[in-house]
């Protein structure tokens, strides 16, 4: 053997031993070992102190409580022994349903210990009750938190999705661990409902998508079959003032009321069009005229009488005037610059002809009344006609295009900009969505996105930031892009981005999906308690047909479903669904309610409109409700079995339970619930009993809690409430009937 061979042999041997040494060192020094050791030490210390606290508490306590405390201490000491005896090793959770393995608990060793909440990471316990609903053994960690579950290395586990070292970028895993609030977007993977009770930011974000109508241009999961959000543009030429339209197309926020910000202020986005384009588009839009000639409003309306009517009907429930009022309809203070007096008059007479999908009821105005209301608006809020926006006069003169050419260019703009996504207009029904589909949004690779002016090495360059900035300022990222400029606040844009990121495109086994079984019920205005959700589902499990016949016609005419749920569908502006109305209220009360509707709950801002119905219609409604809108779980005959003694005991109960905190009785009490002064004339005994037993089952949005009353207690309270009657009612009713005539109401 030559010397050279020995050198080779020794060299290779050295390398081998060295690499084995390095391997050993590397394995020996894995960070998770240190983490697990520290976690264990901290947990044992915390368990000791908790056990000590329990022991000293148990010493002081007696009887049943002492036993309970000792039992808890015993459980803790078992946990203690278990933790102490557990060897230092890689922990792993196998998720067969999701085909995943998570080793996060190797370092996050104490995550299931609620006593460790608040410790620094990775030694903290999981906050909240989330692990009680999603057991670690079933869901693991990365289903919600993302990141690479297999890795036990901080970096490889993708605690950050994209790593930037100077100008070098590395992406160990498609999606990194979700940051604090973005975590809520993960809830949306399985919770395919618009209301996710434990993810308020996601719920808000999904609501904003609905409100802004993003689905007009984009394909978005959960928003496949939505109605267009904006009013029809048919016959626009006969409706609006051309100068106003120029302003509106130039910058909608200029016209929108100054109160509120973000989407509340204006839902119409700004398209940043050139002046010539705006002129052409306006030409095209104005070309759709009403073929039916509109009636000329008679002159000599009485604005004062109109104002009275305006207040009587409670128009401000939906319309804002003087910075006060609702947002359901358009604000009316600047209405005179937008539409002509003639159109406003015709709208009031023939509301549903102009917009068949409006939320506004078709009132039965006489010509005189309509002109009164219009003149009231024109006198109260009449302002000088608008001047064209700056530079438009010149642009108009410089525009050397024939009408024909303008129309063609306007029509092209209309479809290019995707106007038809939000506004229905005959002839544009076939037009598809102009934006890019946003399905599987979270999977988008930041490399393929256009970052425009933004230097993506200066920010965290994931798709969330891209869409957030694009929503706030679309021109920064795509100067030539189609995306218009929405009036979103920063918070709104962030919430929309969060909601969009919830579509990860991951395959979720069907049994984990939470789908909206109650899709016929739109989202209530505030979170529902558990009982409420179940109540809603119980009702919608039945298939509801559309309201039939004459009833259907009236529901459509008065647009009851803008505020109430009728036949399983409608809005939650009122907390009062009408599907059990017949079981709920007394016939006599209902018939007269329509004469002069009032808010039962003094705290509400949205009030029932005075619909000024024809006297036959309340009668019809009453008969229909009494015959059809019934719930079989409500006893129609309970009232006759209640006794005077029960009523007396009920009175005591009423005081004892503190009902007066929310309800007014005998002129005293709170403003939260319905005033109960005359409840004996209003509600049926059966309903009262059923509602007391389980409020949210019958009214999902009711604030009244379930007191857990016994059957007897509920009977007694019902008996007492039924004695609360209006003593002078009989006389009043007869007076009322004499005084009532035509549309004068009560």
């Amino acid at each position: 053997m030559s010397f050279a061979n020995y050198v080779w042999f020794a060299g290779v041997g050295t390398a081998l031993v060295l690499s084995i040494g390095v391997l050993f060192i590397h394995e020996y020094l894995r960070v998770w070992k240190d983490h697990q050791a520290i976690a264990k030490r901290l947990q044992l210390k915390s368990l000791e102190s908790r056990m000590d606290a329990l022991a000293s508490e148990a010493n002081r306590a007696e009887g049943e409580k002492k036993k309970r405390l000792e039992e808890r201490r015993r459980v803790l000491s078992m946990v203690y022994a278990q933790v102490k005896a557990s060897p230092r090793q890689i922990q792993q959770i196998q998720l067969e349903d999701f085909k995943k393995v998570d080793r996060c608990t190797t370092c996050h060793f104490t995550v299931e210990d609620k006593g460790m909440v608040g410790q620094p990471q990775p030694y903290g316990g999981h906050p909240g009750a989330f692990l009680d609903w999603h057991e670690v053994q079933d869901f693991g960690c990365t289903i919600c938190h993302e990141g690479q579950g297999l890795s036990t290395d901080y970096m490889q586990a993708a605690h950050k999705a994209i790593r930037i070292h100077g100008s070098e970028r590395e992406r160990p895993w498609p999606r990194g661990v979700q940051t604090k609030y973005l975590l809520q977007s993960s809830c949306g993977k399985c919770h395919l409902t618009k209301d996710v009770p434990y993810a308020p930011l996601l719920t808000k974000g999904r609501g904003l998508i609905e409100k802004a109508g993003c689905y007009g241009c984009h394909q978005i999961r959960l928003y496949e079959d939505q109605e267009k959000i904006a009013p029809t543009l048919d016959r626009l030429g006969s409706k609006v003032d051309r100068t106003w339209l120029l302003h509106w197309l130039n910058d909608p926020r200029e016209y929108a009321p100054a109160t509120g910000e973000g989407l509340v202020r204006s839902r119409m986005p700004r398209f940043d069009l050139a002046k010539e384009d705006i002129l052409c588009l306006a030409e095209f839009l104005m070309s759709s005229k009403d073929e039916q000639s509109q009636e000329e409003p008679p002159s000599g309306g009485n604005p004062e009488r109109g104002g009275l009517l305006f207040r009587e009907i409670r128009c401000v429930t939906c319309h804002t005037v003087g910075n006060k009022g609702g947002y359901i309809g358009p604000e009316l203070e600047q209405i005179t610059t937008k539409v002509s007096r003639k159109w406003a008059y015709n709208w009031l007479i023939n509301t549903h002809y102009f917009n068949p999908k409006t939320k506004m009821p078709q009132f039965d105005f006489t010509q005189e009344q309509a002109v009164d209301v219009v003149d009231h608006l024109w006198e109260e809020y009449g302002i000088d006609p608008l001047k064209p926006p700056e530079g438009f006069q010149e642009a108009e003169e410089a525009l050397k295009l024939s009408t024909e050419e303008r129309l063609t260019r306007g029509k092209k703009l209309f479809s290019d900009k995707g106007c038809a996504g939000c506004h229905p207009r005959s002839g544009t029904e076939h037009e598809g969505k102009t934006g890019r589909p946003l399905e599987k949004f979270a999977q988008m690779d930041e490399e393929t996105l256009d970052w425009g002016k933004i230097d993506r090495f200066k920010i965290e360059p994931y798709v969330g930031n891209w869409v957030y900035m694009r929503l706030l300022n679309p021109r920064d990222l795509a100067p030539e892009g189609k995306m218009p400029h929405f009036a979103l606040t920063e918070a709104e844009a962030a919430l929309v981005a969060l909601a969009l990121l919830s579509d990860t495109g991951d395959k979720i086994p069907p049994k984990y999906l939470v789908e909206d079984k109650s899709s016929r019920y739109p989202r209530p205005p505030y979170p529902l308690p558990y009982g409420g959700v179940q109540g809603v589902e119980a009702q919608t499990a039945k298939e509801y047909p559309e309201p039939p016949g004459e009833f259907g016609r009236l529901v459509d005419r008065y647009r009851c479903r803008s505020c109430h749920v009728v036949f399983g569908k409608g809005g939650w502006v009122s907390t009062q669904p009408l599907d059990m109305e017949g079981s709920q209220v007394q016939e006599e009360w209902l018939r007269h309610y329509f004469d002069m509707p009032y808010s039962l709950r003094p705290i509400l801002k949205e009030r029932m409109l005075n619909l000024k119905m024809d006297p036959e219609e309340p009668k019809f409604f009453t008969e229909f409700f009494k015959a059809v809108s019934l719930d079989n779980s409500i006893s129609p005959t309970l009232g006759s079995s209640l006794t005077v003694e029960e009523a007396q005991r009920g009175k005591g109960l009423f005081v004892k339970k503190g009902c007066r905190a929310c309800h007014i009785v005998e002129g005293r009490g709170g403003f939260v619930g319905a005033a109960l002064d005359k409840v004996g004339d209003r509600l049926t005994a059966g309903w009262t009993y059923a509602f007391l037993k389980d409020p949210q089952r019958y009214k999902p949005c009711a604030i009244q809690p379930d007191y857990g009353l016994t059957d007897q207690e509920a009977r007694e309270l019902t008996a007492y409430l039924m004695t609360l009657k209006d003593k002078g009612r009989v006389e009043k009713v007869s007076e009322h009937q004499q005084g009532r005539g035509g549309h004068e109401g009560g």
Partner: protein, 154 residues
């Protein structure tokens, strides 16, 4: 044979040097890499994250649990206890006694708050005007409200 005897020496030398280096490297590595912060120095640069800061602002710095609690507080409690829990809500002035200032109640601890919300203030010997919410809200909602209360007032 002479050749063979001579050849063992370099091998022994090489192997012992290797062994010493390995042991040295091992001990050195132990010393350098032992703290948990070990790789913290190698963490990538932090860059601004506009979406994250906007969400932070939208959430008002509350945790996810507290946000859940806020929803329910605003829907069920605020009308009497007021926006900041000072007992000055819209309905407070119809009540006698007035709703409690939650900053005071809070001092009695989480378990006390939980049982007052679940079983009503009458259950702890107070007025019956604050009803038992436990059956309607459920345990988790109630716990989230308790968590949110800690963010109110001082």
């Amino acid at each position: 044979m002479k050749e063979d005897r001579m050849s063992i020496i370099p091998m022994v030398v090489f192997l012992s040097v290797t062994f010493v280096i390995s042991v040295g490297a091992f001990l050195w590595g132990m010393k350098v890499f032992s703290p948990v912060e070990i790789k913290r120095a190698a963490l990538p640069e932090e860059h601004p994250d506009p979406l994250r800061s906007a969400l932070e602002k939208a959430a008002n710095g509350l945790s996810n649990v507290e946000l859940v609690g806020r929803q329910y507080y605003e829907a069920y409690c605020m009308v009497c206890h007021g926006e900041r829990g000072a007992g000055d809500g819209f309905n407070a002035f119809n009540l006698n006694p007035r709703p409690a200032d939650l900053a005071v109640v809070k001092k009695k601890g989480d378990e006390h708050l939980f049982s007052v919300i679940s079983n009503g203030s009458a259950s702890v010997g107070g007025t019956s005007l604050c009803p038992p919410w436990g059956k309607t809200l459920g345990e988790e909602h109630t716990r989230s409200i308790v968590a949110y209360l800690h963010t109110l007032g001082s």
